[in-house]
Amino acid sequence: MLILSAVAACTPAPPGGGVNDPYETTNREVHAFNKSLDRAVLRPLGQVAAEAPREVTGPVANFADNVGLPGMVLNGVLQGDVGGAGTNTMRFLLNTTIGLGGLFDPAGGIGLDEQTTDFGETLAVWGAAEGAYLELPVFGPSTERDAAGRIVDLALDPLSRVGTQPQLDYGLAARGAAIVIDRGRFMQSMDGVLYDSADSYLQSRSAYLQNRRFDLGEEPPAADAGVDPFALDLEGFE
């Protein structure tokens, strides 16, 4: 309840459809910290993971995805998304059993793809506003609503009730390893945003907000709503 009222008190969006980022100064400092952390730890580990054979990284990533499913089922139920909760339940049961504890993904093979969700989305479904943009230490881009959601997801993770012993023992480590594997896999894209862009803070903020709103089925901000290609003056460019 405390978190709900905190979310209700989220910073209101500025008029005119601009980006809601009143904490930009602090956010930029956190961004610089996150970048140095990436350079020192995550990126080098990602390079190692990128060299590892897919036979090794694949099962680790599958295991990590699978232990996240009970939380997604709970959020699906809280959102009234029966279909999503059902798909994720079937995925968890199939992959935990036939998929050898979650190391393999037979559910994906029959079209039962993960219906990704979290408590941030639950808050959105319940009508909480997005709030201000936040860059969290270690975790990266977020919003006030999504940061509150992260805390609830950590506190309420039902894996502790339904997980197998290996899932309880190795779940957290596998999730950490999956972050490293993804960093290695999308090395070019991540490096492009973090190190090759003129303003990596703006690029990551923009990419996060656009992608998050797309995932939640929310409207893109007015400034991003689309460029009218017929309104462009092309003289000289052709």
Binding site: R54, T57, G58, A61, N62, D105, G108, D113, E114, T116, R185, F186, M187, Q188, S189, G192, D196, S197, A198, D199, L202, Q203, S206, A207, Q210, N211, R212, R213, F214, D215, P220, A223, D224, G226, V227, D228, P229, F230, L232, D233, L234, E235, G236, F237, E238
Partner: protein
């Protein structure tokens, strides 16, 4: 209500005449054309990815795909945004050229991450005055994700002018990026053009 002055009437008349001469662009590109364009572009991209060439070779080939299938003039004009208004035609042309090389490099590198994957066209929906071709990229060991191509025929043939990956809009990102690069160079467009060339 104030009656219209003769000047205003003349302005309206001119506007009407203008509108009659240059009708608003109709939705000329058909769903089938838009879909065909994306099918061909995707086939070419998949072929490049699976060719196993060196990174430099692949990026040069991607540049060819951009030339064939994308409206590079519109993408460049959109990226330069308001800064383009005060630019000379020579600067605009030089920028479009340098920007095309930069873009092929940047996205060419990223497309390599699609290796072993497949892009499947799902459906085509008309949006305002263009077509949105919705596709799903299927990468091994990864939940499928959405890639949309925005297609029109402004240059007289079907081309795509925007690419949206899981909601992240290429035109929006590039306008922001080019804006930040210009700011760093104190608004010096010629310096930006030279630096973009060097990045390519």
């Amino acid at each position: 209500m104030m009656p219209l002055t003769r000047r205003q009437l003349a302005a309206f008349g001119l506007a009407a005449a203008w509108a009659a001469t240059f009708p608003l662009p109709a939705l000329a590109v058909t769903e089938a054309q838009a879909r065909q364009l994306v099918d061909r572009a995707v086939a070419d991209i998949n072929a490049i990815i699976s060719s196993g060439g060196s990174e430099d070779q692949m990026i040069r080939q991607f540049e060819g795909v951009f030339d064939d299938y994308a409206h590079s003039a519109a993408i460049a004009a959109s990226a330069l945004g308001v800064a383009g208004r005060s630019a000379s035609n020579a600067q605009r042309s030089a920028f479009a050229d340098a920007f095309g090389t930069y873009l092929a490099n940047k996205y060419g590198r990223r497309f390599r991450e699609f290796a072993g994957g497949e892009i499947k066209v799902q459906r085509t929906v008309p949006v305002n005055n263009y077509m949105e071709v919705q596709t799903v990229a299927d990468l091994p060991g990864q939940a499928p994700f959405r890639v949309d191509f925005h297609v029109y025929d402004r240059p007289g043939r079907p081309v795509f002018f925007n690419l949206i990956v899981e909601g992240v809009n290429m035109l929006v990102s590039e306008r922001q990026e080019i804006g930040a690069m210009l700011d760093q160079r104190g608004g010096d467009l010629d310096q930006l053009i030279a630096d973009l060339r060097a990045m390519g």
